[in-house]
Amino acid sequence: MIDDTQPLLQVEQVRKLFPLKTAGSLVPLRAARRTALLHAVDGVDLSIGRGESVGLVGESGCGKSTLVRLITRTLDPTEGSIRFRGEDIGGIPASRFARVPQRKLIQMVFQDPTDSLNPRYTARDTIAEPLRLLGNLSGTALSDRIEAIAALVQMPRELLGRFPHQLSGGQKARVGIARAVALEPSLLILDEPTAALDVSVQAVILHLLADLREKLGMSYLFVSHDLNIVRLLCDRVMVMYLGRIVESGPARQVFEAPRHPYTRALLSAIPGLGGEASRRIRLEGDPTSPVDPDPGRCRFHGRCPKGQDACTRSSPSLVQMAPGHAVACHFPESA
């Protein structure tokens, strides 16, 4: 049956390439008429253990949203395997995934609570939907369960009848979390769950998420661009740049002694309360285009403060630097 020694989720060499629409010339040009490919996720390995909380950090356009959609199985990978509890789920087409038993075990909290709630559904309708469709609950069993979950996310019962526009940002976030944890999934993906919230509410939601993980024993994949927040909830961190993982390791190590120049730049860009950050690393220029990138050069080259000729000749792969700490860089920082 299910092999308990396997990690909960194991993603191997997964790629997602999107063909780009070529700008319309009416007469097809004979030569070089190959469609350009956007390499959104380009050979990513990741694994998440049972009960583990993993952070995925990167800036917009780095492919983290695509990676998330591959893992939630609402998008089909171009290549690679996705195994969940030892079973291959990467091969199940996304259009059929709503009806497989794994659907209820992989759930997600969305970034913008306003956008991710149907404006015509009350909080109760929203929370009820997965319970009805995937949990086969109805009648009093359903309404009991809804109220239990509302209590779990500390949402007052009287708010359940409200529509999203009648709820505050924090309350909407709770509805989104309630919907995601209603079926007690074993893997919960959190896509910037606090990005749209005020700081004062953010703290409450982060505490709630930490409590829920303990109570329900879920694994988290926490996606964010804010390392300060990722660090609060995650055991392990992965940093993504242009479709690839450039550094991964225990949160503490990555945070305190980043090895990849991009991680260092990312960390130093976060404004801290300490006033003027010392020795800031600033990235110049724009990222390389993810459309048909040159496979023979480092994608960070051009913005990298340490870039050398070697970086244009081969693309670095993830190399273990210390136990559990891997970096994809030709010239990693020393610990």
Partner: protein, 283 residues
């Protein structure tokens, strides 16, 4: 709680905008006439009386009588049911079909979108009234065929509204969230997207009703569809047209006036509905 807030909003819009309130009152009045016309009419709309031919408006016959001595007021009242009925049936038909086609086109894209959009473009390429005439002429001269013809020429409007409204929402977070809640694509379309496109479509329905009435009456005016002696606004205007020059203006004036009022009422109603459901006006 929510119904109450909704009602309060409706009341606010009506109080804020007396024209809309007037349109709603007029609409209610027309609905009343349509439903209870035969009982409200003072005379039998089909009863001819050769002794009272072409009498001007009077205390007994408010709208006068026509060339066969029939009471024009009663005929106008009874015709409401038929005209509204035809328009409503046509609009509901094009609403159902148009929304289904448009929503699929907007959601799935690809070849479905291309073929549905081309269909809409093709219909729009004809002068719509001429197209309706041709359809009735081809299908046969009956009330049902007027309804079909009116439905077909209105189809593109629903297709376009539904397509664009679904298209802007198909990548919304709540659609992706619905997928994770176990909805299949068809369920997402029916239970998540459709309720969200209803408000703009309702506005379209209201604006379209006036147009559909005009279209049905127009077809009858040129002799297609409804046949005399059936009371119908378009026919009545047509029948009275020849008397205009001889001074018996009331024969076509009153049905024409009521027709105009009905169309006007639906257009105002559409504008009012738009204000009511526009989220920017709801705080």
């Amino acid at each position: 709680m929510t119904e109450l807030a909704g009602l309060r909003h409706v009341r606010y819009v009506l109080a804020d905008n007396p024209v809309t309130a007037g349109a709603f009152a007029l609409f209610g009045f027309f609905v009343l006439l349509a439903l209870f016309g035969p009982w409200l009419a003072p005379f039998d709309p089909l009863a001819t009386s050769p002794d009272k031919v072409l009498q001007p408006p009077s205390a007994a016959h408010w709208f006068g009588t026509d060339q066969l001595g029939r009471d024009i007021l009663s005929r106008v009242i009874v015709a409401t049911g038929l005209d509204f009925g035809m328009a409503l049936a046509a609009v509901l038909l094009s609403f159902g079909l148009g929304c289904a086609l448009g929503a699929c086109a907007g959601y799935y894209g690809g070849w479905i979108d291309r073929s549905v959009s081309r269909l809409a473009d093709t219909i729009m390429a004809f002068p719509l009234f001429v197209l309706a005439m041709a359809i009735v002429a081809a299908l046969g001269n009956s009330v049902e065929n007027i309804i079909y013809a009116t439905a077909i020429i209105n189809l593109p409007f629903y297709i376009r509204v539904a397509r664009s409204e679904v298209n802007v929402r198909r990548n919304a977070g709540f659609v992706e969230a619905a997928r994770l809640s176990g909805n299949t694509e068809a369920r997402i379309l029916a239970f998540h997207l459709f309720p969200n496109i209803l408000p703009p479509v309702m506005v379209q329905i209201s604006l379209n009703m006036g147009w559909a009435i005009l279209n049905a009456a127009g077809l009858s005016f040129i002799g297609l569809g409804v046949r005399p002696p059936q009371p119908e606004w378009g026919i009545m205007v047509a029948e009275g047209a020849s008397y205009m020059i001889s001074g018996e203006w009331w024969v076509s004036f009153f049905p024409g006036m009521v027709l105009m009022l009905a169309v006007f009422c639906f257009n105002l109603l559409g504008d009012g509905l738009r204000d009511m459901i526009d989220p920017r006006r709801r705080t």
